[in-house]
């Protein structure tokens, strides 16, 4: 009886709890389903103006990327020819690691990392996508694939709009050139003409505030100054589709505020943002959608709150 009662009590109590939970759960759920789970498309309809054909867009369908690993002999023509001639009994293997993509071998028995597997998603103007996942889950590879650096091995990628990649802060920077020469060089990389380069120079000079150092070789800069220059250069352009690695969070605190504001301007100017970061706060506050990558495949795709809750639970 007591047992029964207690047994009877438990469900009751649970029910009571469940009621409260249900209310909240309902709230969360109704919030979750129409407000939370669906926001991306809904928000799009509401947020994007009625000209989606004109806006920037990213379409990724069944994208797979295999990364050949060249180590030792596989870089050698001699060994490749020999192994093609003699080795026809190699067996495909597929090992599983805690982090990183799956290792396997392809037709020619090269070891490959399956960096991305069957990744599909669509981004429309106004979306801010964050990529989460462990080291080697394929986040940076996906960014590079979106930027057209790595071309798909299977599937397709389509990006409408100018693409800006902020992957390497010191990209295109030559330590032996002066800051000013580096600005010109970067302008040339961006395909700017003379006026564009002068505008870039004025912009970077004002932001990086390196003073007379701008006319000295970058080699003579302190590391903080190099970061300033690199950051100012990388964020000077205003692309429609912005692909960004998390490096930008580095830097000293004083500069960080200034950098943060500038970065926000660029991010706001972009129609689509794709961002990788390990800093959950950044992802939560900057993104409208998160994709959780695991071993190169999409594990979860949803709103930041949803995905982060699940991600933190693992």
């Amino acid at each position: 009886m007591t047992v029964d009662g207690s047994l009877g009590m438990l469900p009751d109590a649970r029910n009571g709890d469940g009621q409260g939970g249900d209310v909240r759960g309902n709230g969360v759920r109704s919030d979750d389903v129409p407000g939370h789970g669906i926001p991306p498309p809904e928000a799009l309809d509401a947020g994007a103006p009625a000209d989606p054909g004109d806006g920037a867009a990213v379409t990724v369908s069944a994208l797979s990327l295999d990364f050949p690993i060249y180590h030792g002999g596989s870089r050698s023509l001699k060994k490749t020819v020999l192994s093609l001639a003699s080795n026809r009994m190699g067996r495909s293997r597929d090992t599983d690691a805690g982090t990183g993509g799956h290792l396997g071998t392809d037709r020619t028995h090269r070891v490959v990392v399956r960096a991305l597997r069957e990744v599909s998603f669509t981004l429309r103007s106004g979306e801010r996508l964050g990529l989460v996942g462990h080291n080697g889950a394929g986040k940076s590879t996906l960014l590079r694939a979106l930027g057209g650096i790595y071309e798909p091995v299977a599937g397709s990628v389509e990006v409408l709009g100018s693409v800006g990649t902020l992957l390497d802060p010191n990209f295109g920077m030559n330590l032996d050139l002066t800051g000013r020469e580096n600005i010109v060089l970067r302008g040339r990389y961006a395909g700017l003409n003379g006026t564009g380069i002068r505008a870039l120079e004025a912009d970077v000079e004002a932001f990086a505030s390196l003073g007379p150092f701008l006319d000295l070789p970058v080699r003579t800069y302190s590391s903080g100054m190099v970061v300033r220059l690199g950051f100012a250069l990388s964020t000077a352009a205003a692309p429609q589709v912005l692909l960004m690695d998390e490096w930008f969070m580095a830097g000293d605190a004083k500069f960080q505020d200034k950098a943060h504001r500038r970065l926000e301007t660029v991010v706001r100017g972009a129609e689509i943002l794709v961002l990788t970061s390990h800093t959950l706060e950044i992802l939560r506050s900057w993104c409208t959608r998160l994709i959780w990558l695991e071993h190169g495949a999409i594990r979860m795709d949803g709103t930041p709150d949803e995905v982060l809750a699940a991600y933190a639970g693992v």
Binding site: P49, E158, N174, G269, S285
Partner: protein, 338 residues
């Protein structure tokens, strides 16, 4: 929408934009209508209206570019992509020239003579080899040295140097290739231009020899220009071909080096084709011979025969075809290889 909305608040969307509760959905909709500004609504439009004129960019005025990459494009698609690479890369010629120029400047930064170190070492080599070989071949220095100086410079600073550097045209630009999408043609143009600059520095040596011996070639020298143009085309083909292969197989550059060494001896560079006489029937089989001749002969005051020109153009066409086929096949993989 107004063309220029007020500057949006600097903060990104608040950390918890979705308070749980029944009203959340509505609130969210309102936010999406742009009342809140930050998430996407008005901000987005503002960016498109005002942001497209962002002064520092200078690129926003271009039509909206499209990047399409599909793994199943097939051979024609690959060829089209390679063609687009060539076209877009050529459009970035300013960048290629700047990069090639900087390569030279940085290579010799801090040295007193700069790129003329090359000239000096070439001059010393030509002088010493001229002295030794004119004795060996029993020819007069006056007849031999102009030939040798032109030959050596064209080979060492021209064909040989370019073939060697073609191997690193992509691996040398690894950082760029992995940081942004950029036509590979830019790296090819950069390599070819860099070598043209080196050749231009070295051409001083034969000019000095001409002056010393009073052996000026005459107006025929102009005929070397179409030959040089052919070299530029072949040089680009070499960069596409060797650049891609050497990115994949890292033992190719030494192999190329060895082959060039052999080619240097079997091609009439330090010896004159006339020295072989009737035994030289196989010379036209060596592609380097007609290629060398179309530039060298005019500089020595001769007009290359039609057969030499036909051979040079024929070999070049075949070489360009091989190079194009390989580049079409390998282009999308180069980024993985470097």
């Amino acid at each position: 929408m107004n063309a220029l909305p007020p500057v949006p608040p600097p903060a990104p969307p608040p950390a918890t934009p979705l308070a749980p509760g029944p009203a959340a959905t509505e609130r969210r909709d309102q936010a999406d209508d742009g009342r809140d500004g930050t998430p996407r609504g008005s901000d987005e439009r503002g960016a498109r209206a005002g942001g497209s004129a962002a002064p520092p960019a200078g690129v926003a005025a271009l039509p909206r570019p499209v990047l399409r990459m599909d793994a199943r494009i097939g051979a024609m698609g690959r060829a089209a992509a390679a063609w687009a690479d060539l076209r877009d890369g050529t459009r970035l010629w300013r960048l290629a020239l700047s990069l090639g120029f900087l390569d030279i400047r940085l290579r010799y930064r801090g040295s007193l003579l700069g790129p003329f170190w090359l000239t000096l070492s070439s001059a010393v080599m030509v002088a010493s080899m001229g002295a030794v070989f004119s004795l060996l071949f029993h020819t007069s220095l006056r007849g031999y040295l102009p030939f040798l100086s032109v030959s050596i410079i064209l080979w060492q600073a021209g064909i040989g140097a370019l073939a060697g550097e073609a191997c690193t045209s992509f691996t040398g630009a690894e950082q760029t290739i992995r940081s942004m999408r950029m036509p590979f043609t830019v790296q090819v143009l950069r390599t070819v231009w860099r070598n043209l600059l080196v050749l231009a520095h070295n051409i001083v040596v034969p000019l000095a020899v001409f002056a010393i011996f009073g052996a000026w070639p005459g107006v025929e020298a102009v005929l070397s220009l179409p030959g040089l143009l052919l070299w530029i085309v072949d040089g680009m083909a070499a960069c596409f071909l060797l650049g891609a292969i050497c990115a994949r197989f890292r033992d190719i550059p030494p192999i190329v080096g060895s082959l060039l060494q052999i080619a240097y001896y079997v091609t009439p560079v330090i010896w004159n084709p006339s020295q072989l006489g009737a035994k030289g029937w196989w010379l036209p089989l060596n592609p380097f011979f007609p290629l060398m001749e179309v530039v060298r002969a005019p500089l020595l005051g001769h007009v290359p025969s039609a057969m030499i020109w036909e051979a040079a153009v024929g070999y070049s066409l075949a070489f360009c075809l091989v190079s194009a086929l390989l580049f079409i096949r390998a282009r999308s993989r180069i980024a993985f290889w470097v």
